[in-house]
Symmetry: C2
Subunit: 259 residues, 2 copies
DNA sequence: ACTAGGAGTTGACGTTGCGGCAACCGCAAG
DNA sequence: CTTGCGGTTGCCGCAACGTCAACTCCTAGT
């Protein structure tokens, strides 16, 4: 009762290349190999192949299949883990589908991003703005330290804990959010709109990485964005009036959520 | 206003390896290359990179991104096509998740397929049974030709239209269905259960590839499975009494859906 | 006896989007 | 003079095979 590779192909529907591959990686070695090198399979091999195909249809990788078949892994545990990955992938695709859908809609209606207010993504589209910590370093920082001494201390510690990569990432995040806010402003969205306040949620969460301000302090920070020329220039370099828009949004956020 | 590769990395968050890759495939060549081979990027390149990253986050392939950016493709059309693929993938994962879930449940409850009735997946797990058309060729076929001459003619034509690969596939399908039915029988599921009748739906659809029997003819075919020793042996080789089970299920199917 | 054909073999490349490593080069500071 | 940084090219690896290419064996037909 032995079958040639072609027999197995016909019976199982897999290609001979696949069977050779499975042999090469040790997943399904043939029962014996003839003098001329031809592979020959027996019943037990077919049984094993059936298991392989079953698990393959479930989307398992060959390595995992091998582990299970050589009883080096618990089938149920492997399947559960696999299902978790599948769910994750499905969710990822789900949100991707929606994002793509939104992008299509934007492209179709907006023609190509023609806003009334100019949004500058200036020389440095990613760079954000000239090192905020350094720029604000000299005078503003002294002011902050004076007004909220313990906040200043916390912020210093948190910043110390960031690696250079973290700081780059943080920089990009801040810039990206500024641009998103600028788009809302350009679209005429009022600062108390849920979309805007959702952005402020992110902003507040970001600030909390360094320091957890109360309502008053958060509003004060917003005012600083407008008053301090270094901050203000960074905001207005993205779009005219963005600093004011941000301050107003922060005030609303403070009043509604931080009171 | 030119930036080195490391500058662009810091600003954009992509690795230098990635930028070199994008250069290598022509997706984002640097503005100019210095005498020492160092790449230098300018504002336009950053703009392009931004677009690239945007589309990359949408899950587009680099080739498609390139086509879009070189305006060799319509962005909306590409995105729509992409979304279709995403939806397909999502659905595939969705059904996979369910299938895996069912498999887990089966493994957990069934311990490991301990049925009361033995199901043989004999020497040839895939082969199905000895060439049905050849086995039934001699006498049964003559009988069929006599009783339903035009059916015989249609069947002959349909079978001629199948390639060798098709026939292999068909063989495997038939065997797989027999095994599924045998499992129902082993589990004591009555022939009029919806699950069983759903299988019969598939069986009837399969038969219709060759021939569209009415209720009487379909019941007659079921009886042939029991009476003809060649058919019967094939069925009972899978599990004792399967031929009778199949006949009864076919009779119910004929009475309820083909009358 | 010669030869065509079919079934089988090994080996290597291509697919996607890079990560990681090795080896090398140019330039500035200690 | 050496060290180190920042840059380069080039190649392997990944997952699971598809797709040649080149070659060997065995059988059947002429």
């Amino acid at each position: 009762m032995a079958w040639s590779i072609a027999d197995v192909c016909r019976m199982s529907g897999v290609s001979s290349r696949t069977l050779r591959h499975y042999d090469a990686i040790g997943l399904l070695p043939p029962a014996w190999i003839a003098g001329n090198g031809h592979r020959h399979y027996e019943e037990a091999d077919l049984l094993r192949l059936q298991q392989i195909l079953l698990m393959r249809e479930l989307g398992l990788g060959l390595r995992e299949i091998q582990a299970v078949l050589d009883s080096r892994a618990d089938p149920v545990a492997v399947l559960r883990e696999h299902q978790r990955r599948l769910l994750g992938e499905r969710d990822r695709l789900e949100t991707l589908v929606r994002t793509v859908g939104r992008t299509i809609a934007e492209l179709e209606e907006g023609g190509k991003m023609n806003k009334t207010v100019k949004i500058n993504r200036p020389e440095n589209l990613f760079e954000g703005f000239e090192d905020e910590s350094a720029a604000a370093g000299a005078e503003t920082e002294a002011e902050v330290r004076e007004r909220w001494p313990e906040a200043w201390e916390q912020a210093r510690e948190a910043k110390q804990a960031m690696t250079a990569d973290d700081q780059d990432w943080w920089q990009r995040e801040v810039t990206a959010q500024m641009i998103r806010l600028a788009e809302f402003m350009a679209a005429g969205v009022p600062v108390d709109a849920p979309k805007v306040q959702a952005e402020l949620d992110i902003h507040y969460a970001g600030i909390r990485r360094f320091w957890t301000p109360n309502a008053e302090a958060y509003k004060g920070l917003g005012q600083t964005y407008v008053d301090d020329p270094r901050f203000r220039r960074n905001y207005d370099r993205i779009a005219e009036g963005l600093a004011v828009y941000q301050r107003d949004a922060m005030a609303v956020y403070a009043d509604t959520l931080l009171s």
